[in-house]
Amino acid sequence: MLGRHGDSLFWMARYLERSENIARRIQAAFHYALSKEDDGKDEWTTIISDTGSGCTFSQKYDETTVTNVINFLLRDRDNLNSILSLVYKARQNGRSVRTALTQEVWLSLNESWIACETALKRPTNIRDLPAVLEGIVRGSSLFRGALYGTMLHNDIFNFLRLGTYIERADNTLRIMDSKYYQLLPTARVIGGSEDQSQWEVMLRSLAAWRSFNWLKKGRLDPISVANFLIFDERMPRSIHFCYKEIKLNLEDLSNSYCSDYDSLNAASQIWTALHHSNSVDKRIKLREFIADHIVKNNLLSLTIASDFNLCKQ
């Protein structure tokens, strides 16, 4: 496979995963805003700053109104991480690797784009928001389904999966970075309504609210949430799960290319550490752990690029 194609596949998956993650975060924030006394502004600004678009936003808008924020996150083409920009880039990448995708995968991507472009042509009003967001998340699910169901599980598939899980690990880490730590000091008393809803926003953003409740029978305490998001091997957005997949896909590549790679060694190391410590040690500093893993994850992305001749367009 062409190195450039590997790069396009990797980033196509990253952009799509990112668009889904942002849609989920908006869903969670929206849910929170509706069940709050205030308008939940803080929640919106966190999403903007977490996607690294704070400057662009403040240059364009004077006020942080719900309408401004929603439109900025969903459809502003000046915002490189708006859902519209991301799906556009994913589709452009898909077009450039059209020959590597099955018809069904390409169709799901192209239809996502067409649906997104149509839904976001005009400013989104709040009444349409739930349907728009559901559409975006559904598009992502269809893509995933077509991928698993119709693609050969070969190197093309591996690069796509690597993109997905690198992006997903990054997302989970960043949400924890911005949220979890703010929460800790006030988390002494479990069950205060403020805390409860913040936990809920975080878990909902990671599509894990229900599954966490089901596993823990509704008991929310900071340590179990942290353990769940970092170590739980069953949870598809935990760091452990992401690294299991990253390692697997790199092993596949290593086997089929009959070669050893720095990226595989790095991923194995991270995975081993996660695998052998199954809970947050009270002594490890959570914030450092998270910051450290954000860096490691970025580094791994670069190592993959250099190991496999991926080049940036």
Partner: protein, 469 residues
């Protein structure tokens, strides 16, 4: 005016279209129009679009697809096929001569300056004959018609002809929408084109290479024909590469892959000569690869079509094609040329200026229907503008009479109406044979009375059937 279904005015319909005409009588045209909207939705879903230059980056357009097919009888096709083969053989012989002995110039048939001062002539190709002796691996010959037996060649596209993906997609759309028509007509298949293209390219390679590695070189996703590039690469099962994927390493042409590198033997390139190699041609080009042309001259790789092939489809050379056929083939041309006035010639220029409102004027190096004048349809301002242009730079233009192009019934808002068409059959050339795919791309001018069929100018396409008997 000749209509391919009805015949000349007053006639009651031609035999070739009998079955289709009966079928149309049974159709509810309103329903058909709805079907046609469905077909276009399908094209958009699949992403069969082309980019329009000068429009917003994200602008992708559909080429309007007309549901009413265009039909050619077996006899008509036989004439076309023989004529096209003759023409394409002559073009290849001409290219080989022009880049080697130049006997046609010595014989006084073509003036030397017409070649040497021509932008499309590449001195870098002199003294080099491509592997297999093939210059134009793929040709699209544009043909128009004015009567039952009157076919004219409008243009020979010998550089990087496009449109073949529409020929193929149009057919599969028709089969999908109206399977019944394929049981009442004996239609020759075209769907093997990608396989045949692949085999035709591979046949040019050195015989000691066991299974030559073929790749398609595209300028990238912003090119107007990108969909076609990806479609063909996909159908042939070959890599779709860009210049940035290529490296010249140790005299070999390699592509950078996730495993390391891989040698390429044949490049079906869909970028123009000028952009192939910044070291040999346009130094600012980022689309090609430095050193690619040298590698080509040392026979490390085959480029299809050969650089410099454009000298044969130039609109000024076009007028010499009948002589070119006589010179190399010793035969009378089977297909007619349209009479062409080269404006570089003083007498011609005078004639053209005097009769501008009856002529079609084209740029010698133009394409895509840009920068041309259709005299009878032009406004006073356009006419005077072209008078000025012609006086200022006569060698840049040729003029032709305005032909009464044939029409084919086309679905419009007000039911069926005749619209002008042309035809681009696709020709594959290998050292062993010349193959013309039975069919081609029929382009149709959707505006009433319009003669401009180019997709960039709002033209549409039709499925084109060649009948078995």
């Amino acid at each position: 005016m000749f209509d391919e279904m009805m015949g000349f005015e007053g006639e009651t319909g031609r035999a070739t279209y009998k079955n289709l005409s009966d079928w149309l009588d049974d159709q509810d045209l309103k329903k058909l129009s709805k079907e046609s909207v469905k077909a276009e939705e399908m094209f958009r879903r699949v992403g069969i679009t082309f980019n329009v230059y000068g429009q917003k980056e994200a602008e992708e357009r559909l080429i309007p697809f007309d549901l009413i097919p265009r039909i050619l009888s077996a006899d008509e096709w036989r004439v076309l096929e023989r004529g096209i083969k003759q023409r394409v053989s002559a073009i290849n012989a001409f290219l080989c001569d022009i880049y080697n002995e130049q006997e046609i110039i010595s014989a006084g048939i073509i003036p030397a300056e017409l070649i040497h001062r021509n932008e499309a002539f590449l001195p870098q190709m002199c003294g080099f004959t491509p592997l297999g002796g093939v210059y134009t691996h793929v040709v699209g010959v544009d043909i128009v018609r004015t009567g039952p037996e009157d076919f004219f060649v409008l243009e020979d596209n010998a550089r990087v002809p496009s449109g073949v993906s529409y020929m193929l997609e149009n057919r599969s759309t028709m089969q999908h929408m109206f399977p019944e028509l394929f049981t009442t007509h004996q239609i020759r298949p075209i769907n093997n084109y990608p396989k045949e293209l692949f085999e035709s390219l591979v046949a040019c390679a050195n015989s000691h290479i066991e299974s030559p590695n073929v790749a398609l070189l595209t300028p990238g996703i912003h090119n107007s024909a990108y969909y076609e590039h990806s479609f063909l690469a996909d159908e042939m099962g070959i890599e779709l590469i860009q210049g940035s994927d290529l490296e010249i390493y140790d005299g070999k042409v390699v592509i950078r892959t996730t495993k390391g590198t891989e040698v390429v033997d044949i490049i079906y390139r869909r970028i123009d000569d000028n952009f192939l190699d910044p070291l040999s041609f346009d130094p600012n080009s980022l689309l090609g690869a430095p050193g690619l042309f040298d590698a080509y001259r040392s026979r490390a790789v085959i480029l299809a079509n050969a650089p410099g092939s454009g000298i044969s489809d130039d609109k000024a050379i076009y007028s010499y094609i009948p002589e070119i056929i006589k010179f190399y083939m010793g035969e009378k041309p089977l297909l007619k040329n349209i009479p062409t006035w080269r404006c570089a010639d003083k007498q011609n220029l005078t004639y053209v200026l005097e009769n501008l409102n009856e002529l079609v004027v084209k740029e010698v190096h133009g394409s895509g229907g840009y920068g041309m004048l259709v005299g009878p349809a032009a406004s006073k301002r356009e006419l005077s503008e072209f008078t000025r242009k012609l006086r200022a730079n006569p060698a840049k233009y040729v003029a032709q009479p305005t032909l009464a192009l044939s029409t084919v019934p086309t679905l419009t808002k007000n039911g069926l109406a005749p619209r002008h068409v042309d035809l681009r059959p696709f020709v594959l050339v290998s050292p062993n044979e010349i193959k013309v795919t039975p069919g081609g791309l029929t382009r149709v001018a959707l505006k009433k009375g319009s003669l401009v069929v180019n997709s960039s100018q709002g033209g549409g396409t039709k499925d084109t059937w060649v009948l078995r008997a």
